[in-house]
C-alpha cells in the first residue's frame, strides 16, 4: 500500500477533486467562527435562486472544546472542509464517495454508512436533513440538504458537505492522536504546528480572557450589527453577528453565562443572523427576480 496522504496533501486532493467538478476553490473566511457553515459562501449563498458551487477549508474555533493539548481528539481550533452545491445535484452521494476514494479510502475494506443526523443551527436559524457519514463507526462528514437558512426557505435546496479534516487524516494515517498526524511529507507533525497554540489558547479561553471586556465587546458587536442593518449593509451586519457569536462562545468557556442566560444570548445572536439574512435577501431580490422570473423569497 502506498504511503498515506499527509494532512496538507489530503487537502490538496480534495481541492483538486472538487475543482475538477466545477467548484470554486475559496479561501477561509478571515474571522473566528464555530463552523464552516458560518462562512458567507455557505450561509448567505445558500439563499436565493442562483447556482453556487464552492469548496474551501475553514478553521473553526470552539473555545469550550479546548483541552490544553492533552486530549488526543479534542481541540479548540481545528479545520473543516466545506463543499456547498446549489442546487443539490442528483448524484451528490456518489460525488461525495468519489472524494473519499480520492483521499485513499478503500470501500472493499471499510464500512461506510449514512446514519440519520438532522442538522440544526439555532444561532443561524437554519436546519436541514441528512446524515453523519460513518467510516468504520467514525463520523467523518456531516452531509446535509439545507431546508432553511436564517429562517428562510432555501429555494433551491443546497447540499452541504462538512468533512472533519483531522479525523479523516487520523483515520487515513492510522494515528491515535491528532498531534501525531503528518502535516506534510517532510516530517512536520500537526503537533509541531498546533500543540503550543492549543495550550496557550486553552489557557486564555478558560482562564485569562477578560470577561468584562468580552461582555462589552458583545454589546458593541450587537450594536454595530444593528447599525449596519439600518444602513442596509447585510454583509458587514453578518460579520458583526459572527463576531458576537464568537464572543458569546468565549464567555461560555469562561463559565460566566448561566444556563438561564444562555438561551437569551443565543436568541440575540440568532436575531442578528436572521436580520442579516433578511437584509441580504431584500437587497438581492430585484436582481434575482430579474434573472429568475417567478422566484420569490
Amino acid at each position: 500500500m502506498s504511503q498515506p496522504l499527509s494532512f496538507q496533501r489530503m487537502i490538496l486532493k480534495l481541492h483538486d477533486y472538487w475543482s475538477e467538478r466545477g467548484c470554486l476553490i475559496l479561501q477561509p473566511y478571515d474571522m473566528e467562527m464555530g463552523a464552516g457553515t458560518f462562512h458567507t459562501a455557505t450561509t448567505l449563498r445558500a439563499l436565493g435562486p442562483e447556482p453556487w458551487n464552492a469548496a474551501f477549508v475553514q478553521p473553526c474555533r470552539r473555545p469550550t472544546d479546548g483541552r490544553y493539548g492533552e486530549n488526543p481528539n479534542r481541540l479548540q481550533h481545528y479545520y473543516q472542509y466545506q463543499v456547498i452545491l446549489k442546487p443539490s445535484p442528483p448524484d451528490l452521494q456518489e460525488l461525495y464517495l468519489g472524494s473519499l476514494a480520492a483521499i485513499g479510502i478503500d470501500f472493499t475494506k471499510h464500512d461506510i454508512r449514512f446514519v440519520e443526523d438532522d442538522w440544526e443551527s439555532p444561532t443561524l436559524g437554519a436546519w436541514g436533513l441528512g446524515w453523519e457519514v460513518w467510516c468504520d463507526g467514525m463520523e467523518v462528514t456531516q452531509f446535509t440538504y439545507f431546508q432553511q437558512m436564517g429562517g428562510f426557505d432555501c429555494k433551491p435546496v443546497a447540499g452541504e458537505l462538512t468533512y472533519g479534516l483531522e479525523r479523516l487524516a487520523m483515520y487515513i494515517q492510522d494515528k491515535d492522536s491528532v498531534y501525531d498526524l503528518a502535516f506534510n511529507d517532510a516530517g512536520v507533525s500537526y503537533g509541531d504546528v498546533f500543540l503550543e497554540n492549543e495550550k496557550q489558547m486553552s489557557k486564555w479561553n478558560f482562564e485569562i480572557a477578560d470577561t468584562d471586556a468580552l461582555f462589552d465587546l458583545f454589546r458593541k458587536h450587537v450594536a454595530e450589527c444593528e447599525n449596519s442593518l439600518e444602513a442596509k449593509l447585510p454583509i458587514p451586519a453578518y460579520e458583526q453577528a459572527i463576531k458576537a457569536s464568537h464572543v458569546f462562545n468565549l464567555l461560555q468557556a469562561r463559565g460566566v453565562i448561566s444556563v438561564a442566560e444562555r438561551q437569551a444570548y443565543m436568541g440575540r445572536v440568532r436575531d442578528l443572523a436572521k436580520g442579516s439574512c433578511q437584509a441580504w435577501i431584500e437587497s438581492n431580490t430585484p436582481a434575482w427576480q430579474a434573472k429568475y422570473p417567478g422566484w420569490t423569497a
Binding site: P49, N71, P72, N73, P87, S88, P89, P90, L92, Q93, F107, T108, K109, H110, D111, I112, R113, F114, V115, E116, D118, G128, L129, G130, W131, C135, D136, G137, M138, Y145, Q147, D153, C154, K155, P156, V157, G159, Y171, D176, S258, V259, A260, Y292, W295
Partner: protein, 820 residues
C-alpha cells in the same frame, strides 16, 4: 391474476422510520385499491435503508364492471322533474328504465385496467406519504411546492406481472431497473417481475426483508460473542436499528482496553449503544466484558479486520472521554458539587436547583416524620389487586404517626441526606456529557464517597418510576425522595400555572403525577394527597418570599388559617370543596405572591383514571368514588373502587344498581335533588315521620344542597352510622305501610349502619355485602308499592324512603356515575 411490485428507492432512509413506512405503504396502497374497487388478497412490504418495497399478489387484470342504478322521478311526474333528472344523468328518456311506475337511470361502468389504476395510485401514494420529517431537494426545489420525500427519491420500479406500470414523479420515471448493494454491486440490475425481485437483490448483496436482516444480526452477534466465550447482552432496539442501517449485515466482534472497565458498566453500555450502535457482552460471571459487537454493512475483503480496528478506536476515544469525566468527578465531593446548583435556574419563577433541593429535602423529611413513608417497606402492590388484600387493613391497624417510633428519626435523616445530594450529579462532567445518566452517576459517586447504601440507592433511583414499565421504588429512603421530588415539581408548576396542554407537557407533569400515583399504590402510602401538596406549596411559598426579599414567618404558612383566609372563605371566594381547605391554607398568601392556589387534585384524578384503565379498572367506577368528594387517600380510594368493581359484577350488584337507578330516576323526576336525604341528617329517621314534612313546603334549594350524609369525608368524625341505627321502630306513620315498605325500612335500618361502619373501617367488601342485602327488598318494593300514591302522605313518605335508599348506596359510591 398478476403480482405487482413497487420499489421506491431513495437515499438512506433513517432506521427509526422504516417500520412505520412499511405499514403506511401497505395502508395507503390498500386504500387506493379499495377506492378503485379492487382488493389485493395479500400485501407484502419490505424496507432497507435505500428502498421501500411492496408486493401485491394476485391482482385481477382489471376492475369489475359495475352497473350503478340511480332512482329518478315517477313516470307520471311533471316534465320539469324528468328534464332535471336527464340533465343530471346525461341520459335520454329512452335510456331510462321504468319499474313499478318509477324511472331509473342505469349507468354501466366498464372495468378499468389494473395497470391504469396503479399508474394513478402510485403518485397519489407518494405525494400523500406521511414521513415524520421530509425534505425538498435538487433543481426542482426552487419552490416550496416541490415534491417532498424522506430523502431524495432516486428510482421507481413498478411492475405488474412483467409489464412496467408507467409513472413519473418529480422527474423520476418508473422502470424495471434498480441497483444492488452500494459497494458490493453498485451497477444497475433489471428486475423481471415480483417473483424474482427478492432473489435477484439477494444475489446483489441486498437482503430486502427487515426480519431476515434482524435474524442474521441476532444470530451472528450471538455466535460471535459465544466464540469469544462471552454472552451477548440482547437488545431489541439495537437489533432493529442495525437492521435498518444495513442491506447486508455482518456482525463483527471487537475488544476494547480492559482499563475502561473501571468506568461503571452502564456508562460503557450507553456509550456503545447510543453513540455507536454496538452490542456489549457479559462474561461467565455475568460482568460486563471488554468486548463489543458492531454490525458492518459489507463483507470486507480482509474479513473485517480493518473495520473492527476502526470501530475499536472510535469506542476507545469515547470511553477515554467517559473515563476522564468519571475520574474527574470522583475527585469532588457531592456536597461540593451540590453548591453549584445555586447557579442553575430550575425555573425562573421557582428558584434555582439549590432551592428545589432544599424544598425536596424538607418535604422528604416531612413525609417520614408524618408517618406517610414508614421505615419498613409495606408489601408491594400495584394495579387492580389493591382490593382484596387491603380490606382487612382498616385504619385502626395503621401505625399512627409517632416520631418516637424506632427507625423514624433515622429514616428521616437518611431521606433528607439523600435528597440534599440527589441533584448534585447534574453538575458533574459525566452527566453533562450523558444527561440520561442522571441519578445513576450520583448513586455511584455517593457510594464511592461512603454514603449509606440506602442514600446512594435513593440518589440513583429517585427519578423513578420514569416510563410505564419502569420499576417503582420500594426502599423507604428512595420512596421519600422520589415522592418529594415529584410532588415539589407538580405543585410548583401548578402554582405558576405552567400546565400541560394537549400533547404538550414540557415539564413532564403527567409523568410526575403518574409517578406519584404509582409510588403511593405500590407502597400503600396512606394519608391525604391534598395535604402533601399543601406542604409542598408551603415550601414553594418560602422560596418565593426569600427570593423576593420578604420575611419568612416561623409558623408553617400553608397550614395556618389567616384572618384573610377566613374572610375569603366566608366570602365564598375560596374553594371549599377541597377537603383540606377547611383546615387550612394560606390561599391569600399564595395569591398575594401571584401564585395560583388550587391544588392539582383533578389532574391526579385524570392521571389515576388513565393509569387504572390500563390496569383494567373501570373509569366510571373511579368517577363513582371520586364523585363522593373529599377522597384523596388513593389507597383507600382504589380499595373502594376494587370492591365496587367486584360487586357490580355480581347479580346482587347488578340488580342493586338497577334498583338504585330506578329510585334515583323517580327522585329526579319528583325534583328531590341529589343531596336531599334530609330526614337522615336531622336524625328523624327514614322520612317516615313525614306527615309533618309533607304538610310543610318542599325542602328548599338551600337545604337540598347540603352535602350528602354518605359523603364521608376522611377525617370527618361526624358519626353517620350511629345516627341511623335503630330508627325504624315506633315512628308513627299516618297510614298503614305495606309489607314491602316495612321490609325495605327494616332492611335499610339494618344495612345502612352496617354499610356505613364498614366504610368507616375501610372494609369495602363488607360495605358492599351490606348493600347487597337491600337488593331483594328494593325489588319487592318496586314490585308491590306505588310510590306516586294519590295520598300526599304516602307519596312523601315513600319518596323519602327512596331518598334513604339512595343515601345508603351513596355511603359507598355515587352509583349514578356507574355505566350500564
Amino acid at each position: 391474476m398478476t403480482d405487482f411490485l413497487l420499489e421506491l428507492r431513495s437515499e438512506e432512509i433513517p432506521a427509526r422510520m422504516q417500520d412505520k413506512a412499511r405499514e403506511d405503504l401497505a395502508r395507503l396502497f390498500a386504500a387506493e385499491l379499495t377506492k378503485a374497487g379492487l382488493t389485493a388478497p395479500e400485501l407484502v412490504t419490505y424496507a432497507t435503508p435505500r428502498r421501500l418495497v411492496l408486493i401485491a399478489r394476485d391482482l385481477p387484470g382489471e376492475t369489475a364492471a359495475v352497473s350503478e342504478e340511480t332512482k329518478g322521478p315517477k313516470a307520471s311526474a311533471p316534465p320539469q322533474a324528468l328534464e332535471g333528472f336527464l340533465r343530471k344523468t346525461g341520459l335520454t328518456r329512452e335510456q331510462l328504465v321504468e319499474r313499478d311506475g318509477v324511472l331509473f337511470a342505469v349507468i354501466d361502468k366498464p372495468g378499468r385496467a389494473t395497470a391504469d389504476v396503479l399508474a394513478q395510485a402510485i403518485p397519489a401514494i407518494v405525494r400523500a406519504f406521511p414521513w415524520p420529517k421530509s425534505m425538498r431537494w435538487g433543481s426542482a426545489s426552487t419552490t416550496t411546492e416541490s415534491m417532498k420525500w424522506v430523502r431524495p427519491l432516486q428510482g421507481i420500479v413498478a411492475l405488474l406481472g412483467e409489464q412496467i406500470v408507467p409513472v413519473e414523479i418529480a422527474g423520476v420515471t418508473s422502470g424495471a431497473a434498480t441497483v444492488g448493494h452500494r459497494f458490493h454491486h453498485p451497477g444497475v440490475i433489471t428486475i423481471g417481475s415480483a417473483a424474482d425481485y427478492v432473489e435477484k437483490l439477494r444475489a446483489c448483496h441486498v437482503i430486502v426483508d427487515h426480519a431476515e436482516r434482524r435474524q442474521i444480526i441476532a444470530l451472528g452477534a450471538t455466535m460471535a460473542a459465544r466464540k469469544a466465550g462471552l454472552e451477548l447482552i440482547q437488545d431489541e432496539g439495537l437489533l432493529n436499528e442495525n437492521a435498518g442501517l444495513t442491506e447486508w449485515p455482518v456482525p463483527l466482534l471487537g475488544r476494547f482496553d480492559e482499563a475502561f472497565l473501571d468506568v461503571p458498566p452502564e456508562v460503557i453500555q450507553l456509550t456503545a449503544r447510543v453513540n455507536q450502535k454496538y452490542f456489549v457482552c457479559r462474561d461467565a460471571d455475568g460482568k460486563l466484558a471488554n468486548a463489543f459487537v458492531c454490525t458492518a454493512n459489507i463483507d470486507a475483503a480482509d474479513g473485517g479486520a480493518k473495520i473492527v480496528e476502526g470501530n475499536r478506536k472510535v469506542l476507545a476515544a469515547r470511553l477515554s472521554d467517559a473515563k476522564f469525566f468519571y475520574d474527574t468527578d470522583l475527585k469532588v465531593d457531592l456536597e461540593e458539587q451540590a453548591k453549584k446548583l445555586g447557579a442553575i435556574v430550575f425555573h425562573e419563577k421557582l428558584g434555582t436547583l439549590a432551592d428545589k433541593v432544599d424544598r425536596v429535602a424538607r418535604l422528604a423529611r416531612w413525609l417520614v416524620e408524618e408517618g406517610i413513608v414508614l421505615p419498613a417497606p409495606l408489601p408491594g402492590r400495584e394495579g387492580p389487586g389493591v382490593g382484596p388484600e387491603t380490606q382487612d387493613r382498616s385504619s385502626k391497624d395503621q401505625p399512627t404517626p409517632n416520631p418516637s417510633l424506632p427507625g423514624r428519626g433515622v429514616l428521616a435523616a437518611l431521606a433528607e441526606r439523600a435528597a440534599r445530594l440527589a441533584k448534585a450529579d447534574l453538575v458533574t462532567g459525566m452527566v453533562g456529557e450523558f444527561p440520561e445518566l442522571q441519578g445513576l452517576m450520583g448513586g455511584y459517586y455517593a457510594a464511592a464517597q461512603g454514603e449509606d447504601p440506602a442514600v446512594a440507592a435513593a440518589i440513583r433511583d429517585h427519578y423513578k418510576p420514569v416510563g410505564q414499565g419502569d420499576d417503582v421504588p420500594t426502599d423507604p429512603v428512595t420512596v421519600a425522595v422520589a415522592l418529594a421530588d415529584k410532588l415539589d415539581t407538580l405543585r410548583g408548576f401548578f402554582l405558576i400555572e405552567e400546565l400541560p396542554t394537549g400533547s404538550k407537557d414540557p415539564f413532564a407533569l403527567r409523568r410526575a403525577a403518574l409517578g406519584v400515583i404509582r409510588l403511593i399504590v405500590a407502597n400503600g402510602l396512606r394519608g391525604e394527597l391534598g395535604q402533601w401538596l399543601n406542604k409542598a406549596a408551603d415550601l414553594h411559598l418560602e422560596t418565593y418570599l426569600r427570593s423576593s426579599g420578604q420575611a419568612i414567618p416561623d409558623a408553617p404558612m400553608y397550614l395556618e388559617v389567616s384572618d384573610e383566609t377566613k374572610r375569603l372563605m366566608a366570602d365564598g371566594e375560596m374553594l371549599i370543596d377541597f377537603p383540606v381547605a377547611a383546615s387550612a391554607p394560606c390561599y391569600a398568601g399564595l395569591r398575594a405572591a401571584g401564585l395560583h392556589p388550587a391544588p392539582p387534585i383533578d389532574f391526579f384524578a385524570d392521571r389515576l383514571k388513565v393509569q387504572q384503565r390500563e390496569a383494567g379498572v373501570r373509569h366510571d367506577l373511579i368517577d363513582a368514588v371520586f364523585a363522593l368528594g373529599g377522597e384523596d387517600d388513593l389507597v383507600r380510594l382504589l380499595a373502594r373502587v376494587a370492591a365496587l368493581q367486584a360487586f357490580v359484577g355480581t347479580p346482587d350488584g347488578a340488580n342493586l344498581l338497577a334498583g338504585y337507578k330506578r329510585a334515583a330516576n323517580i327522585l329526579k323526576k319528583e325534583g328531590v335533588a341529589l343531596a336531599a336525604p334530609l330526614p337522615e341528617r336531622e336524625g328523624l329517621g327514614v322520612g317516615l315521620e313525614t306527615q309533618d314534612a309533607s304538610t310543610k313546603d318542599q325542602p328548599t334549594q338551600h337545604q337540598l344542597n347540603q352535602p350528602p350524609a354518605g359523603s364521608d369525608r376522611p377525617g370527618d368524625d361526624r358519626p353517620v352510622a350511629p345516627s341511623l341505627s335503630g330508627r325504624g321502630e315506633g315512628i308513627p306513620l299516618s297510614y298503614t305501610p305495606e309489607k314491602a315498605e316495612t321490609d325495605l325500612i327494616a332492611a335499610l335500618d339494618s344495612a345502612a349502619p352496617r354499610a356505613a361502619s364498614a366504610v368507616e373501617a375501610e372494609d369495602f367488601e363488607g360495605a358492599m355485602a351490606a348493600l347487597a342485602t337491600l337488593r331483594a327488598p328494593i325489588d319487592a318494593f318496586f314490585e308491590g308499592v306505588t310510590v306516586n300514591d294519590p295520598e300526599p302522605a304516602k307519596r312523601t313518605a315513600r319518596l323519602a324512603l327512596l331518598a334513604r335508599v339512595r343515601a345508603a348506596v351513596h355511603s359507598v359510591a355515587d352509583f349514578s356515575k356507574i355505566e350500564g
